[in-house]
């Protein structure tokens, strides 16, 4: 198992280098020098300042290989430079504040999606073409097609404006400091309900679909027949033999869908004014705060890489064929 995990790790290293490559390429995407572009949106004074800062930061007068090498050296020391915003704080501090919020949201979303998608998928697969199956299929198609920002606005109108049950912005109320311990917790949770509901909606549709598909394939297998034939109850056959095998492909899909989930935080965080990485990214793009944009991009990609690695290792843990078979297969 250790070998398998190590091999995965070694395979991920080139991707890590690749991430820095792509991110660096983005800086040079703009026609001409990247510094020229800022002129259009900023006023002349701050634009001249930004040019100067960018030139210093990326050494834009040097050969491109030298630029990349210097930039890489700084990234390796987690030095993303300072924000162009008036506060001029180090990018690493800004990201450090917001990373836990985005991570927490994504982990909670993931847990909810998995906890709901598995039983939903199982139930619709074991009762294929039943009313329940048809209802969930409709839900899946609508879930795929619903724009998350629209769902967020509708829920805000309903629960925030019309009914007034839930707060629609930020993570805490203004009078949070004056609340008692329990009220503080409740306040925090109530701020999370709508964002998490929105973020899980689309993902839930996808995952229950995959789970259904996977389950449908598994219950046609011979070993399920033989489990039934030896007299096991339906509950054991489905709940143990079939479920375990049907969940295997889900681990991979989980890993593959992480970038989408993390990317989704851009919209959810912007709408609900949640101080996470996504909101930081949108603000930085509006302010043309290039060091923050680049830092964000690198951190988010590395985060996805790590998450994919974890999913790979988890797959090896649950499926012995993967970690032992390794080279021989395919």
């Amino acid at each position: 198992m250790l070998w398998y995990a190590l091999r995965r790790l070694v395979l991920a290293l080139p991707l890590l280098v690749g991430i820095t490559f792509i991110s660096f390429a983005v800086i040079h995407l703009a026609p001409g020098e990247p510094v020229d572009v800022t002129g259009g949106t900023m006023n002349t004074k701050s634009s001249a300042q930004a040019r100067q800062l960018l030139r210093e930061m990326y050494g834009l007068d040097q050969p491109i290989a030298v630029q990349y090498w210097n930039w890489l050296g700084r990234i390796a020391r987690l030095d993303f430079g300072r924000s162009f915003a008036p506060d001029g704080r180090p990018v690493l501090h800004k990201i450090g504040e917001r990373l836990p919020v985005t991570l927490m949201l994504n982990i909670v979303e993931l847990l909810i999606i998995v906890a709901l998608a598995i039983p939903i998928g199982m139930a619709s697969a074991t009762r294929q073409y039943s009313v329940f199956d048809k209802v969930t299929t409709v839900f899946v198609f609508v879930g795929f097609a619903t724009p998350d920002f629209w769902l967020a606005l509708l829920l805000m109108i309903l629960f925030g404006v019309e009914l007034g049950w839930l707060p629609i912005s930020g993570l805490r109320s203004l009078n949070w400091e004056y609340m008692s311990g329990w009220r503080q917790h409740w306040d925090f949770v109530s701020h999370l309900v709508l964002p998490i509901l929105v973020a899980t909606f689309g993902g839930l549709a996808g995952f229950s679909r995959y789970m259904r598909q996977s389950m449908l394939e598994v219950i046609r297998q011979d070993y399920i027949q033989s489990a039934r034939a030896k007299g096991l109850s339906e509950r054991v056959v489905i709940g143990k033999h079939a479920l375990r095998n049907a969940m295997l492909p889900l681990v991979t899909i989980l890993g593959l869908s992480l970038p989408g989930l993390i990317g989704g935080s851009v919209i959810v965080e912007s709408i609900f004014a949640i101080p996470g990485m996504g909101q930081l990214m949108v603000q930085a793009v509006f302010e043309r705060d290039y060091p923050v944009i680049m830092g964000n991009l690198v951190v988010v990609a590395v985060l996805t890489l790590v998450a994919n690695l974890l999913a790979d290792v988890a797959y090896g843990l649950v499926d012995p064929r993967i970690r032992l078979g390794g080279r021989g297969r395919r």
Binding site: P14, L15, G18, I19, I22, S23, V26, I27, L29, A30, P34, V37, G40, F141, V142, F144, A145, T146, P147, D148, F149, W150, L151, L153, L154, M156, I157, V161, L256, P259, G260, I262, G263, G264, V266, I267, S270, I271, G278, M281, V282, A284, V285, F286, R288, Y290, I293, M294, N296, L297, V300, A301, T304, L305, N308
Partner: protein, 285 residues
């Protein structure tokens, strides 16, 4: 082909999806004829007007007719959807064909590039790229296309890997056809079916992405109307003008839903053939 149409016609949902897609394309093409008002003309006497006989879907902050804006907005959505998917498919077909046909180091390099692109959460990458570019409908099309070719690449590569071992390909190679000719005349046409399905399903995904970017205010810029930026303006008025947020989102939902139903219908109708070719490929080891 006949089997395909028979199978497709039986799938009522897919036919309905296809019909709605057709209607949406017509609405977009005929927008100047159908729109009840000029989508850019403000009306200070009727700002944030509720839906009425004159303005069936209400008016926005500047008193512009929402229905007209949505009709013109559908042109943007469709154009972005088709063009960006076209770009993505072109890149994906070329890279996938090269990777699958050449194999070896070329294949390994291209597939690592695919893995690499997939490590970036799409929205973060899009925003980072857009931060360096001037937002316009062309840049939006380009960046959505340039960040969305990985799926097609994998698909085409897989088809090529299976097809290049088939007899008719081996035969044409044996009689001395040039590599390009083998790929273009013999392999590619046989690999196109799943690509067409992927493209049909790619259009709604691109439309969702564009409307998300426009909603954030980073996509197609006003005064051009798009469903996304009408929603963006509607966001500031959700407490008083629900119609500004409701209808454009509903339009996106219906559009994406119809394309998805159509795409899945096409895939299901093609499936027997696809499954057969996979099984053949598998049995050949």
């Amino acid at each position: 082909m006949k089997h395909f149409w028979q199978a497709f016609a039986k799938n009522r949902l897919a036919v309905a999806g296809g019909a709605v897609v057709l209607v949406l394309v017509l609405l977009a093409l005929l927008a100047p004829v159908l729109a009840p008002a000029d989508p850019h003309r403000p009306d200070v006497h009727n700002m944030l007007g509720a839906p009425s006989a004159k303005h069936p879907l209400g008016t926005d902050q500047l008193g512009r007719d929402v229905l007209s804006r949505m009709l013109y907005g559908s042109r943007v959505s469709l154009a972005v959807g088709f063009v960006s998917v076209g770009i993505a498919a072109a890149i994906g077909i070329v890279l996938g064909a090269v990777a699958g046909y050449r194999g070896g180091l070329v294949d390994a390099t291209i597939m690592r590039l695919v893995d690499l692109m997939l490590v970036f959460p799409r929205f973060f990458l899009l925003l980072a790229v857009l931060a360096f570019l001037r937002p316009s409908i062309w840049t939006i099309m380009a960046v959505i296309g340039l960040t969305g070719w990985m799926g097609v690449t994998r698909l085409v590569r897989g088809e090529f890997l299976a097809l290049k071992e088939r007899e008719f390909v081996l035969w044409s190679q044996a009689v001395g056809a040039a590599g390009f000719r083998v790929v273009w005349r013999h392999i590619l046409p046989n690999a196109m079916a799943p690509v067409l399905v992927a493209m049909t399903l790619g259009v709604p995904a691109a439309i969702l992405t564009e409307s998300g970017l426009s909603f954030l205010g980073l996509g197609v810029q006003p005064p051009f109307a798009t469903w996304g930026n009408i929603l963006n303006e509607g966001k500031d008025a959700i407490e008083i003008a629900w119609w500004l947020s409701f209808y454009p989102g509903l339009a996106i939902l219906i559009t994406v839903l119809s394309y998805n139903l159509l795409g899945e219908g096409i895939r299901d109708a093609l499936d027997p053939r696809l499954r057969q070719s996979r099984r053949l490929a598998a049995s050949r080891g």
